[in-house]
């Protein structure tokens, strides 16, 4: 079983901290993660909003490259990329005519055989089973596990966890010593791609997510999506201004939490790159 990774543009760019923490964990647990060679952007929200064929062709190229690399299982830490790749694979499997058209566009062979997994699945499979003896600094804090939209929906396509009140991240965090709280906003949208074009909407929606977490005495919000992290963390000033409040709760990636729990230094997992100070230890 060859495990590869598709980091996606965010992990390469503004979500560098996420990328660092993923590779730090891989290193700590001696896991190989081969990058899909010469990968391209999956198209994210922009492609499927404007052009259906483009939104299917770009991910198909990535999947095709993975097959060429002999990668059986692709870890996709970015929830949006995970969603796009899985949707593409499913659409092409359901409709052979569509598959032919898209493969004609990308001019590559495509079998659709790779297994696409998200970061929590990767953690559950390779890290959690070996976590027991390795916790040196249990992350004993109350955490609000924020899944966002694209990790669990649409359920019929992703078939992952459950769309209402999912628990996979909560379980993973409790294994790292954290105390996940009851958190009804765990799958409410943060405002997604409107970060720049309608910052007010992001401020409103992300603010609701943060307000609920803080009101339930959570000490950190845990995420598995770089877009959500960006909206909840980088946009904090805008959110505070919109709400007329000072929200201080930090936002961490799942991989960062586990990294901290096994004793990795904060810098190694990219905590220094956050906008909102992470004072938890």
């Amino acid at each position: 079983m060859k495990t590869g990774i598709y980091p996606g543009c965010s992990l390469n760019g503004s979500a560098r901290d996420y990328n660092e923490s993923v590779f730090a964990l891989a290193e700590a647990f001696s896991l190989k993660l081969e990058q899909v060679s010469d990968w391209n952007c999956c198209g994210a929200t922009a492609a499927h909003n404007l052009n259906k064929d483009l939104s299917l062709a770009l991910p198909s190229r990535i999947l095709s490259l993975a097959e060429q690399n002999g990668i059986d299982e692709i870890v996709v830490p970015c929830a949006a990329c995970y969603n796009r790749l899985t949707v593409t694979q499913t659409e092409l499997r359901k409709d052979p005519e569509l598959k032919n058209r898209i493969t004609g566009i990308i001019e590559m062979d495509y079998k659709g055989t790779s297994r696409i997994i998200n970061v929590i699945e990767w953690i559950d499979k390779y890290i959690t089973p070996n976590l027991e003896g390795r916790i040196v600094k249990p992350f004993s804090h109350k955490v609000a596990c924020y899944y966002g939209c694209l990790l669990v929906r649409p359920y019929k396509v992703l078939n992952y966890d459950r769309p209402e009140d999912p628990q996979s991240m909560d379980l993973a965090m409790s294994k790292a010593g954290a105390e996940p709280i009851y958190y009804p906003f765990k799958t409410e949208c943060c405002g997604a791609g409107l970060s720049i074009s309608r910052t007010d909407i992001v401020s409103k929606l992300s603010g609701k997510i943060i307000e609920d977490a803080e009101s339930r005495d959570a000490e950190a919000i845990i995420v598995a999506c770089p877009m959500c992290h960006s909206n909840l963390d980088m946009r904090r000033n805008d959110i505070n201004k919109y709400w007329g409040k000072e929200f201080t709760i930090p936002v961490l990636f799942v991989t960062q939490v586990i990294g901290l729990a096994i004793g990795l230094p904060a810098k190694k997992v990219g905590l220094n790159r956050h906008f909102v100070d992470v004072k938890v230890n």
Binding site: G13, L54, L150, P154, C189, A192
Partner: protein
Amino acid sequence: MFHTETLMEKNSLAIHLEKHVDVIARKCYQCGKCSAGCPVAEEMDLPPSIIMRLLQTETQANDDKILRSYSIWLCLTCEMCLCRCPMEIDIPSAMDFLRQMSLSEKKVNPKAKRIIAFHRSFLNSIKYTGRLFELGLTLDYKRRSLTLMQDIALAPRMISRGKLHFIPEIIKGRPQVAKIFKKTSKKEN
């Protein structure tokens, strides 16, 4: 205006949706659960359940209303509506289709200018390098939307945290990606 006027017959949006995206507008019985759970319903001129009803009337005027709405561009494709719809109507896929139709028929709501500008800037960035160049995206967006001062305050902190690259990464398969864009642009529908 009564909706018995100008029935669209074979050309209604509802029929297109059924043919291309397997969305059957007739199934909707207007329960409103989608609008109730939609995070941006309050901002929308036409909440999703109203769009479904407008589709059901299959008239030129209402189809037009939908394509010219702001709602379709506000939709975040968060998939909450489909998750809870009792009839399992794939509203997010319908929204994608309506957006693409709105563009091809040049009926885009003027308020959506910035949102579309962002999407176009994003795609433009990938077209030339194969991967998103965030700085390039931002500059292109500012050019399109004339929001020159927006988010300027963020820049220094992004730079100091190593989150803003100044040089784009260009993949080897750049010509391939450019070709994909070319081949799909004719079909932009």
